[in-house]
C-alpha cells in the first residue's frame, strides 16, 4: 500500500477512536441523564455533580468524529448526513435541550427546577434513541425495507440501555451510600436488555448484510475473531458478578465501569471489522470518499500534535475531579 492508500485507513482509525471515546464519555453522562428521574432531589444534584465538570468536553468527541468524517471523507459526509437528516435533527434538539437544562436547572428559579430536570431526562433519552436509530441505519448502509427498519428500531432501544448501563456504573464509581447501591441496582436492570440487544445485533447484522456475513463466517477468519465474542461474554459475566451483592460498593467500585468500557470496546471492534473498508456500507469505500492526500497529510500532522495533548489534558481534568463526586460550587 502506498502512503496515499494508507492515509484513509489511518483516518478511519482516528474516526473510530473519536466515536468510541464519544460513546464511552458521553455515554455515561447520557446514561446519568436517563436515570435522573429515578432518584430523589438530593441524589439528582449529586448525579449531576458527578458529570458536571466533564459533559462539555465529552460532547466535543462527537464533533471530532463527525469532523473527521467531514474533513477526511467529504464525499461520504454528504451522503450520510442527507440519509440521516431527520434523526440527526432529532438528536440535535435532544442535545441542545439536555445541554442547556444542565445549566438552567441550578440557575433558574427553584420552582422551575423540576421542569429543567425533566428536560434533561427527556433530552438525554431523545438523543440516545436517535443515535441508536442512526447506528442501525448506518450499519445496513441505509437500506430500505421493513426488516431493516426493525433492525434499526432494535438498536434504537439497545443503545440507550447500554448508555444507562454506562451511566449506572459511572455512578457506582463516583458516588457513595444509598445512591451508589441504587446505581448498582439500576446497572443490573440495564444489563439484561444490553445482553439481549448485543446478542440480537450480532446475529442480525450478518443476516441483514451479506458483506458482514461473508467477513465473519468464513474460515479461518471466524477462528481469529472468536476472542471478540468470548471477551464480551467474559465482561458480561464479570459485570453481573460485581454488580450483585455489595462487591462493587467498596474498593472495587471502578470495576463495573471498566468492564462496561470493555464491552463497548469489543462491540466497537466488531463493528469496525464488519464495516471496513466501507464508510457507507457496500457503497462507498474509504478510498473513494477520501480528501486529497495533501489535505489529509496536513490534518494528520495536526492530529499527531493535538490528539495526544487533548488526551493528556482530558486525563488532567479527570485527575482534578478524581474520586467521589462532591457538591459543585462555582469558584
Amino acid at each position: 500500500m502506498s502512503w496515499a492508500e494508507i492515509l484513509p485507513v489511518i483516518f478511519m482509525g482516528l474516526m473510530g477512536l473519536a466515536m468510541f471515546l464519544y460513546v464511552v464519555l458521553d455515554g455515561f453522562d447520557l446514561g446519568v441523564g436517563m436515570l435522573l428521574h429515578r432518584a430523589d432531589d438530593g441524589q439528582k444534584d449529586m448525579m449531576i455533580a458527578s458529570i458536571g465538570p466533564f459533559w462539555d468536553a465529552n460532547e466535543t468527541w462527537l464533533v471530532l468524529g463527525v469532523g473527521i468524517l467531514l474533513i477526511a471523507f467529504p464525499k461520504a459526509h454528504g451522503v450520510v448526513m442527507t440519509a440521516l437528516y431527520l434523526p440527526i435533527a432529532l438528536m440535535l434538539l435532544g442535545l441542545i435541550l439536555r445541554g442547556v437544562a444542565f445549566d438552567f436547572r441550578v440557575k433558574a428559579q427553584d420552582r422551575h427546577k423540576p421542569l429543567w430536570n425533566f428536560i434533561f431526562f427527556a433530552g438525554s433519552t431523545v438523543t440516545s434513541v436517535a443515535q441508536g436509530w442512526m447506528l442501525g441505519r448506518f450499519i445496513t448502509g441505509f437500506a430500505d425495507g421493513g426488516a431493516y427498519d426493525l433492525f434499526a428500531l432494535a438498536i434504537a432501544i439497545a443503545l440507550p440501555c447500554a448508555y444507562v448501563l454506562m451511566g449506572a456504573t459511572w455512578l457506582v464509581l463516583k458516588t457513595e451510600g444509598d445512591l451508589q447501591s441504587r446505581a448498582a441496582h439500576w446497572g443490573r436492570l440495564a444489563l439484561i436488555p444490553v445482553v439481549v440487544g448485543m446478542g440480537l445485533i450480532s446475529l442480525a447484522t450478518p443476516w441483514v448484510s451479506d458483506t458482514v456475513s461473508a467477513r465473519w463466517f468464513s474460515l479461518p477468519q471466524f477462528i481469529g475473531l472468536l476472542p471478540i465474542p468470548f471477551a464480551t461474554f467474559a465482561c458480561f459475566v464479570a459485570l453481573w458478578w460485581t454488580l450483585n451483592g455489595k462487591r462493587a460498593l467498596g474498593t472495587l467500585c471502578w470495576l463495573p465501569f471498566i468492564l462496561t468500557v470493555g464491552i463497548f470496546l469489543m462491540g466497537g471492534l466488531g463493528l469496525a471489522y464488519s464495516l471496513y473498508p466501507f464508510v457507507v456500507m457496500d457503497r462507498i469505500t474509504i478510498w473513494q470518499a477520501a480528501s486529497s492526500t495533501a489535505a489529509l497529510n496536513l490534518i494528520l500532522a495536526g492530529c499527531a500534535i493535538t490528539v495526544p495533548a487533548i488526551l493528556a489534558y482530558t486525563f488532567f481534568a479527570h485527575r482534578v475531579f478524581w474520586g467521589k463526586a462532591t457538591e459543585l460550587r462555582y469558584g
Binding site: 465538570p53 464533533v63 442547556v100 440557575k107 462555582y330
Partner: protein, 461 residues
C-alpha cells in the same frame, strides 16, 4: 404553496447560525473579562472582585453551554444542508474546521470544568491558567471560523482540478484579503457586546435596588471598556467597508442602495429599495457623502448594482447595515455619556442620574442586535454565491425534501425562541438574586453579619 427547499435550507441554517452567534459573541470576550476580574481579586484581595467574578462565571457557564450545543448543531448542518459544499471545497474548509475543533473546542470545553468547579482543587496559579486557556480557546475558535468565513468571501490560494478545490498556499488562504478586517471587527463586536451586557445588567441591579459591592466595579470596567473600544470599532468598520468595496463591490452597492453607477453618490439615511423597479422610493440622503466615505473623494465613483450579472438582495443589506450603524452610534453616545457622568460621581452608580441607568440597562442586548445585523449584511451580501464568484449556494444544497426541512425548521425555531426567552429571564433572575449565598468566606461575610466573629474575638481577649 410551493416551498423552495434551497430557501428553506438557507433559513434553517441562518436560524441556527443566528442563534449560535449570540452566545460566542458574549463568551469570547467574557472569558477575558473573567480573567481580568480574577486577576484583580488575586492582586488586590478586594473581595467584591471575587463576587463579580463568581456572578459572571455563572453567566459564562450558561452562555457557554448554549454556545456549545448550538455549535454542535452547526457542525452537522454543514453536511445536512450543504452537502455539496464539502464535496467541492472539503480540501480547504475541512482542515480549517478540523483545526478549530482540535486546537480550540477541546481546549475550552475541557478546561471549562476546571475553571468552573476546580477552585480549591487546584492551586490559584493553575486555576488562573485554566481560566486563561478557556479564554484563549474561545478566541482561537473565532480565529479559525473567521478564516473560513473570510475565505468564502474573498477566496485565494486555491486551484480547481476537476471541479474540486485544491490548496496552493495555506498562508494565502489563512491571511486572505478580508480576514484581518473581519477578525478584528468581530473580536471588537464581541468585546462591545459583552461590555454592554455587563454594564446593562449592573445598571439593572442598581435600578432594582439589588446592587452589591461588586456592581460599581463591574459597571466601571464595562463602561470604560465600551467607551474605549467603540471609536476603534467605528474605525475598523470603516476599513472593513473599504476592503469590501475593493473585493465585493456589489455588496457595497446594495448597502448604499446604488442602482446605477454614479459619481458623488449620496449617503442614504432612509429609503425603500425597490428591486422590481430597480430604484429607491422615498429616499432621504446627504449629497455626495457615500462617495466621500467610501472613496474619500467627494466625486468618487460608485459602481451600481445594474452592472453586476448577479448581486445580493438589496433590502436586507440596506436595512441591516443601517441597523448596525444606528446601534454603533447609540453605543458611542451611551458609553461616552456614561463614562463622563459616572466618573464625575466617583463611579457611584446610585448617585448617577436615573435616566442614565435606564439608558445603560436598555442597551444590555444592543451588541446582539448590532452583531446579528452586521452578520446578515456580510452573509446575505455574498449571495447568490456560497463561495464568492465561484460556487452558487443553490448548487450545493441537499436533496432533502422541503417538508422535512420545514418540519425540522419549525422544531429548531420553537426551541431557539424559548431558549432565548429562558436565557434572558434566568439572567434577570440571577441579577436580582442576592450574591454569594453559599460564600464560605472565612472572615467577614455571613459571620460578621451574624455577629458571631466579633463575639468570639472578645471572648478570646
Amino acid at each position: 404553496m410551493d416551498l423552495d427547499p434551497v430557501l428553506l435550507a438557507r433559513i434553517q441554517f441562518a436560524a441556527n447560525i443566528t442563534f449560535h452567534i449570540l452566545f460566542p459573541t458574549i463568551s469570547i470576550s467574557l472569558g477575558w473579562m473573567l480573567l481580568f476580574m480574577r486577576w484583580r481579586w488575586l492582586k488586590t484581595s478586594h473581595r467584591p472582585w471575587l463576587t463579580a467574578y463568581r456572578f459572571w462565571t455563572k453567566v459564562f457557564a450558561l452562555t457557554f453551554a448554549l454556545g456549545v450545543v448550538s455549535g454542535i448543531t452547526m457542525s452537522f448542518q454543514f453536511g445536512t444542508n450543504w452537502p455539496g459544499f464539502m464535496e467541492k471545497v472539503g480540501n480547504i474548509a475541512g482542515p480549517l474546521l478540523g483545526f478549530e475543533v482540535l486546537t480550540a473546542f477541546f481546549l475550552e470545553a475541557t478546561f471549562l470544568g476546571v475553571m468552573l468547579f476546580g477552585h480549591g482543587r487546584v492551586s490559584e496559579r493553575v486555576h488562573l491558567l485554566a481560566t486563561f486557556l478557556v479564554a484563549f480557546g474561545t478566541t482561537m475558535s473565532a480565529f479559525w471560523i473567521l478564516v473560513l468565513n473570510s475565505w468564502m468571501q474573498t477566496p485565494v490560494g486555491y486551484e480547481i482540478i476537476n471541479g474540486e478545490f485544491h490548496v496552493t498556499s495555506w498562508m494565502e488562504i489563512i491571511f486572505n484579503p478580508s480576514f484581518p478586517y473581519r477578525f478584528a471587527h468581530m473580536l471588537l463586536a464581541s468585546f462591545l457586546t459583552m461590555a454592554f451586557l455587563v454594564a446593562g445588567v449592573s445598571a439593572w441591579q442598581v435600578l432594582r435596588g439589588k446592587a452589591n459591592a461588586s456592581t460599581p466595579l463591574a459597571l466601571r470596567a464595562a463602561i470604560t471598556l465600551a467607551a474605549v473600544l467603540i471609536p476603534v470599532q467605528i474605525l475598523v468598520g470603516d476599513m472593513h467597508g473599504l476592503n469590501t468595496l475593493h473585493h465585493q463591490p456589489q455588496k457595497i452597492a446594495a448597502i448604499e442602495g446604488v442602482w446605477e453607477t454614479e459619481k458623488g453618490a449620496p449617503l442614504l439615511l432612509f429609503a425603500l429599495p425597490n428591486e422590481t423597479e430597480r430604484r429607491n422610493d422615498m429616499a432621504i440622503g446627504i449629497p455626495k457623502m457615500a462617495s466621500f466615505i467610501l472613496t474619500h473623494e467627494w466625486d468618487g465613483e460608485l459602481k451600481g448594482l445594474n452592472e453586476f450579472e448577479a448581486h445580493p438582495p438589496v433590502k436586507p443589506l440596506f436595512f441591516g447595515f443601517r441597523i448596525m450603524v444606528a446601534m454603533g452610534t447609540l453605543m458611542l453616545l451611551v458609553s461616552w455619556a456614561g463614562w463622563w457622568l459616572l466618573r464625575r460621581r466617583g463611579w457611584q452608580p446610585e448617585h448617577a442620574p436615573q435616566w442614565l441607568m435606564v439608558g445603560i440597562a436598555a442597551m444590555t442586548f444592543s451588541g446582539w442586535i448590532a452583531t446579528v445585523a452586521g452578520w446578515y449584511v456580510t452573509e446575505i451580501g455574498r449571495q447568490p454565491w456560497i463561495v464568492q464568484g465561484l460556487i452558487r449556494t443553490a448548487d450545493v444544497a441537499s436533496a432533502t425534501p422541503a417538508p422535512h426541512i420545514a418540519i425540522t425548521l419549525a422544531g429548531y425555531l420553537i426551541t431557539y425562541v424559548l431558549l432565548i426567552a429562558a436565557y434572558i429571564s434566568v439572567l434577570r433572575y440571577m441579577a436580582e438574586k442576592p450574591s454569594d449565598s453559599y460564600d464560605p468566606a472565612p472572615t467577614g461575610g455571613a459571620a460578621t453579619l451574624l455577629g458571631t466573629q466579633p463575639a468570639k474575638k472578645e471572648g478570646g481577649a
